[in-house]
Symmetry: C2
Subunit: 365 residues, 2 copies
């Protein structure tokens, strides 16, 4: 446990993952499912996307304990048309359901070149690139998107009517790391504002508005208000389309009908989870192009973009996912970056569930 | 021919379409192909997207005459894996090739639920929503994207290294018009800057940079420089992914290797057209949800978004494609909006090719 900045520590990824895994088992997940959820969270931390990392553990545990998430879902294929599969997640953990969905998608795309899996009755699935990189690792192109609770104001409104609905595309490269885009349709992922609240910090201009529709730097007021779409009406439009595809098409919920917590479910008298939907897509590259030729062409594209002249004030041109790969290398060497707040939460959970706290142990050394 | 604003006229859509159709036939396109290209251009004008409308006629005619576009392409299926089809456009007009591609995609998606057609060796395909609305009109969801000549600076660079690479998604609705997103990954479509040059007008801050990387209001300098991606690194990342999928994956060209004109082809010693690639995707809705239920849920989504409270300074909340439908209704009633510059170009072409100029006739009345 190394102090990395004012209140962040470097912790070995495997230790945190093991701890999360044990905690998830304590609230009833199978060993296999606990491993998937923990792996999904630590994947994000390793890539430096702490908003989707171990910081979510406490919230996930709470959702399992309150019955908001189903700890042992019966995930079922409701329809299979060959190129299009419909999956019911039975309100399980998003990562557990989504791993099944992407596995199905990849297998089918391997057979017929391309496939889509539409998912209903799911929950927060963590980092979207967790699933798309399952494709790029086996020489396929992966795409996925999800809807999410209505925390964002569509262009022209001050109300939270749509989710920050993220999407990811992953494309294999050769010498370069795979190209991986993983973005929310908000200016920043809402997780960054949650982290700012936990850390008691202000947020920059433009990230979010308060309830009255005015830009705020107060992270608490921002959480009560709305985040803003990136690129104005364009990001707002993408988010609406993702809600239509993930929510409406799959038969999941959409917009304000996605629930945020057991509390909301209780108030609304609905005995269900978030009601989130996803869409997974995979394209097999080999029918279109010999894979090594494809990869060398992707390398050429990356190389040409990176060697362009810099804009005034820019220091480097990055392609999607490049920063995350640097974080990955750093995390492998020095450990993942956890905030003091997240470490405290995990420590509390370890006490509560009598799990040996390897983080505390390291801290005392 | 009605004077609509300082230098724009309202002209009946059918007249302009018929004129363009005749002009395309004069340079060697079959009656059927000329109809498709003309229909594609007027589709854009009718929806108020004049950047992709009849203003392109002169450029298309020039490209046909110089051999930069192949006027009678042999469009071939190179690969068919069931869910994934690879099409070679043989350097024909983009709209002619893309119509074939989307027809194939829709037919296959009807059979197996979802299909993709990847296209190489194509050219400028006009408005992307022309193809996606082919899907939404028959109760399917359509997606397409294309790469384009490198006119945009990726985030961090001042050089034009990537295209404005637009994409479109169309989703059928019930009582409301279909939801149709059709956006370039630049802040504005480059066609708007081309129009500003034709009309001798300045462009707003933020649209484009000059060759040295500084924001410019001079449309001419902007055309020599680069347009900027929307939403900073996010729009830039989407554009790079579209280039990888449309250009690299299909076996088309990408980045700087896409040619803009016969002149560029001649200078580079390459006997070919733009080398553009596209990707078309269709999802059949009926396997996932009874179509009327789906449409009523889309209507509900639209209705809920539109009835949200307005942001400070906003006058209305629009969903994707709503503005274009209003333009459509207006165009049907009063004619499409053509600039003086576009009318002059069409008039010149009519003289050159001895096509009866119905626009001039109307103007003289």
């Amino acid at each position: 446990l190394t102090l990395a900045s004012d209140d962040h520590y470097r912790v070995p990824a495997e230790k945190v993952k093991n701890l999360c895994n044990q905690l998830f088992q304590k609230v009833g997940l199978s060993k296999q499912d606990a491993e998937i959820v923990a792996d999904n969270l630590i994947f994000a931390d390793i890539r430096g996307v702490s908003s989707h990392g171990a910081t979510r553990t406490a919230s996930y545990i709470n959702r399992a304990q309150t019955g908001f998430y189903n700890i042992s879902p019966n995930i079922q294929i409701l329809e299979d048309k060959g190129g299009l599969i419909l999956l019911d997640g039975d309100n399980g953990f998003g990562a557990v359901i989504s791993k099944v969905a992407m596995d199905l998608t990849l297998a089918r795309a391997k057979e017929i070149g391309c496939a889509i899996c539409s998912v209903r009755n799911s929950n927060h699935f963590g980092a979207a690139s967790y699933y798309t990189t399952m494709a790029s690792r086996i020489d396929m192109i992966g795409f996925c998107c999800t809807n999410s609770p209505a925390n964002m104001a569509p262009y022209g409104s001050k109300n939270s009517m749509i989710g920050t609905n993220p999407f990811s595309i992953a494309i294999p490269a050769g010498e370069y790391p795979d190209v991986v885009l993983d973005i929310a349709t908000s200016i920043v992922a809402r997780g960054n504002i949650i982290n700012a609240v936990k850390e008691g910090k202000p947020i920059p201009d433009g990230w979010a508005i308060d309830k009255e529709g005015y830009i705020t730097n107060d992270a608490e007021l921002a959480l009560q208000g709305s985040v803003l779409p990136f690129g104005g009406y364009k990001g707002s439009g993408i988010s609406i389309m993702i809600d239509a595809i993930c929510g409406v098409l799959s038969g999941a919920e959409f917009g304000k009908h996605i629930l945020k917590s057991a509390g909301e479910a209780s108030i609304s008298g609905k005995n269900r989870g978030s009601g989130i939907g996803h869409l997974f897509l995979a394209i097999d590259i080999s029918p279109l192009q010999e894979i090594n030729l494809f990869k060398s062409r992707i390398d050429q594209m990356i190389s040409e973009i990176k060697s362009a002249e810099l804009a005034p004030n820019a220091s480097e041109i990055l392609v999607p996912g490049e920063l995350e790969v640097r974080n990955f290398q750093n995390s492998k060497q020095s450990g993942i970056l956890l905030s003091e707040a997240t470490i405290s939460e995990l420590t509390e959970l370890c006490k509560l569930f009598q799990v040996g706290n390897t983080l505390e142990y390291a801290k005392e050394m």
